[in-house]
């Protein structure tokens, strides 16, 4: 009975109810969209960084991550490869050689981290090929090809097939140099990466620096949730000369950024929910105020206190439920649509490593959490006006 009455009551003042429902509808649609857009940004940054830079996991010489010396390479990469061979979660492995280098042209000089890659493997592993804006990925007939970013190319006034002198410290301790030709120019959404990196063939860097072994073995897995399991395996089985690092250790800023985006989107959602909560409190207080006489009458003719209480709680619940449920559904629909078409953000966020077009990701646990928060909030908020109604004395209400 109270349910039916509560349902009818919310439509007594259609304008007021629709204003609140509309606020909940748009507020929660926006919250769901924002949460999933932020998640999409975080996922895109992570995917790019993991694919182009670190992989989900890396195995290195135990000292390399600290000192980054050219002679701190993996002494027996075959042993590591054999160890990883039977891990089903691993989808791709690549070996890279890394050295600090100076790139010089007649016009300018630039410092970069030079990464030596095996093109036929790297092209499967890394998304860098997707960001080529000219030339090829270390392929073709050029001797000693090099990939440079658009920013580096501009600074050094390089174009495809241009010559650039690469100078670095060889394993012998000598400063060595070699002439490379630009085979491709890339532009990733990650500006800091672009400003500091150049790519050459593994064999060419090895020849120049005098080493044959990789500094890092990067690993991609099919599910990030499986990282802990693989790390557990490596803790037990990796020889003590090597260390493994997850992307969280290698990219602490990205990890912090992802945590920050999640916190911000959650905070944004909580602010929206609090706004709705105060709106609901105000609406329900007005309802109790306006219906004091009616509530007094209901109590007089025999409706129990708690029946009145739950009738008002249900009214709050209906208002919030209609608005939030439809809003959340709209949010999910928008996220689903934009996860196909993308959301154009423009290139203004490239400094943060954010692409011009972001594809939101549907994050069900967050959506469920929003639903749970909305329900808890409604339950808490609805109690106050309902308690106020409990204090209405029938004879006083009817007299007024």
């Amino acid at each position: 009975m109270t349910t039916r009455l509560a349902w009818k009551n919310i439509w007594r003042n259609k304008t007021r109810s629709l204003i609140f429902i509309g606020a909940a509808f748009f507020g929660l649609a926006l919250a769901i969209f924002t949460i999933n857009l932020m998640k999409g940004i975080a996922a895109q940054r992570l995917d790019d960084a993991v694919s182009i830079q670190t992989g989900h996991l890396q195995i290195q010489n135990k000292d390399f991550n600290t000192f980054r010396e050219i002679d701190q390479y993996i002494a027996d990469p075959a042993q590591v490869r054999a160890l990883l061979k039977d891990q089903p979660q691993i989808v791709s492995i690549t070996e890279r050689m890394v050295s600090e280098a100076v790139l010089t042209t007649p016009e300018n000089t630039s410092i970069a981290q030079l990464t030596g890659v095996k093109p036929e493997i790297e092209i499967q592993f890394s998304a860098l090929k997707d960001y080529l804006i000219g030339g090829t990925f270390l392929e073709g007939d050029l001797p000693k090809p090099i990939l440079v970013s658009k920013k580096t190319a501009e600074r050094l006034k390089l174009s495809i097939r241009s010559k650039v002198i690469v100078t670095l410290k060889a394993v012998s301790g000598e400063i060595v140099g070699g002439a490379f030709r630009v085979s491709g120019i890339f532009e990733t959404p990650n500006t800091p990466y672009d400003e500091n990196n150049a790519i050459v063939k593994y064999s060419d860097l090895g020849e120049l620096s005098g080493i044959r072994n990789p500094h890092e073995i990067a690993i991609l897995v099919n599910d990030r949730m499986q990282l802990t399991r693989i790390e557990g395996f490596l803790v037990k089985n990796l020889p003590s000369d090597y260390r493994h690092y997850s992307w969280i250790t290698l990219l602490p800023q990205l990890y912090a950024f992802n945590g920050f985006t999640e916190a911000v989107s959650m905070l944004f959602t909580i602010i929206i929910l609090l706004g709705l909560g105060f709106g609901l409190l105000n609406t329900m207080n007005m309802i109790v105020q306006e219906r004091t006489r009616e509530i007094g009458m209901l109590r007089a003719i025999g409706q129990s206190k708690w029946s009145v209480f739950f009738m008002l709680v249900k009214e709050s619940g209906f208002l919030m439920f209609i608005g939030s449920l439809t809003g959340i559904l709209l949010g999910i629909v928008i996220v689903n649509m934009t996860s196909q078409t993308g959301v154009p953000l423009g290139s203004g966020f490239a400094l943060l490593g954010i692409r011009a077009t972001i594809y939101p990701v549907v994050v069900w646990p967050m959506i469920v959490m929003v639903c749970v928060l909305a329900t808890i909030l409604t339950a808490i908020i609805s109690v106050f006006p309902a308690f106020r109604a409990l204090r209405i004395r029938p004879h006083a209400a009817l007299r007024d």
């Binding site: 009975m1 007594r12 006489r293 009616e294 009458m297 109590r299 025999g302 009817l398």
Partner: protein, 227 residues
């Protein structure tokens, strides 16, 4: 047979500051089937007395017994249930639920009691037919005239077959024609169903139709006579 017994009933507002004795040492009894009008000027204490008889206000002193149940000793919850099951209320400003239709308003108390739908429906139809509103079963109060709304309120008060009906100035907002119609209906229902009616009023037309008149002045019974 006596259905209501009021002993030494008093109600004092602001007892600690400036005491106002709204009802002062009232002793009364009401018999089953009576049709009583309590008359008096505004502020004489009629409504306070009715509220205490109906258990929606607590006396400062004295007691109200209804069919051997001492209302004064009951908890709020017991009183609420007692009101729901044994008392009918008619208010000056009708106080129908605007979101329910006429028949739903009449059914409301029976629904609270948990009576079966079929019983509720047939009783409500019967009552609405008795008050000549069988053609307005599904009209909401906003679509009914004041007189029609008050008739629906009477039907609601009678629907659960209470021991008695308390009506506080039921005709105060009605025109002559509606007042006459409402009184006809209440007299008819009083006679047909044997339900006790107690009114507060200062409407002479109601007093004329009452069989017992209690004149109230300054919170006390000044006159009490049968016609």
């Amino acid at each position: 047979m006596e259905i209501i017994e009021i002993r030494n009933l008093s109600k004092t507002y602001n007892p600690k500051t400036i005491p106002v004795h709204a009802v002062n040492q009232v002793n009364l009894t009401f018999k089953e089937g009576e049709f009583t009008a309590i008359v008096g000027a505004s502020g004489s204490g009629k409504t306070t007395l009715l509220n205490m008889i109906g258990g929606i206000d607590n006396p400062s002193e004295g007691e109200v017994c209804i069919a051997s149940n001492n209302l004064t000793n009951m908890s709020e919850t017991q009183k609420t249930k007692f009101r729901r099951d044994h008392i009918g209320f008619v208010f000056q400003s009708y106080n129908l639920l605007p979101v329910l239709t006429a028949i739903e308003n009449v059914e409301f108390i029976m629904e609270m009691q948990g009576r079966p739908v079929k019983e509720r429906h047939s009783r409500s139809k019967e009552l609405l037919s008795a008050i000549c509103l069988s053609n307005r079963l599904h009209s909401r109060p906003g679509k009914l005239s004041g007189g029609q709304q008050q008739r629906v309120a009477v039907a609601r008060a009678l629907a659960h077959k209470p021991k008695f009906v308390i009506a506080d100035e039921p005709t105060a907002n009605l025109d002559s024609r509606s007042t006459a119609d409402l009184l006809d209906i209440m007299v008819k229902l009083n006679e047909q169903e044997g339900i006790t009616f107690i009114f507060s009023t200062h409407d002479q037309r109601v007093v004329d139709r009452a069989r017992r008149v209690i004149v109230f002045e300054d919170g006390s019974v000044k006159e009490d006579y049968n016609k």
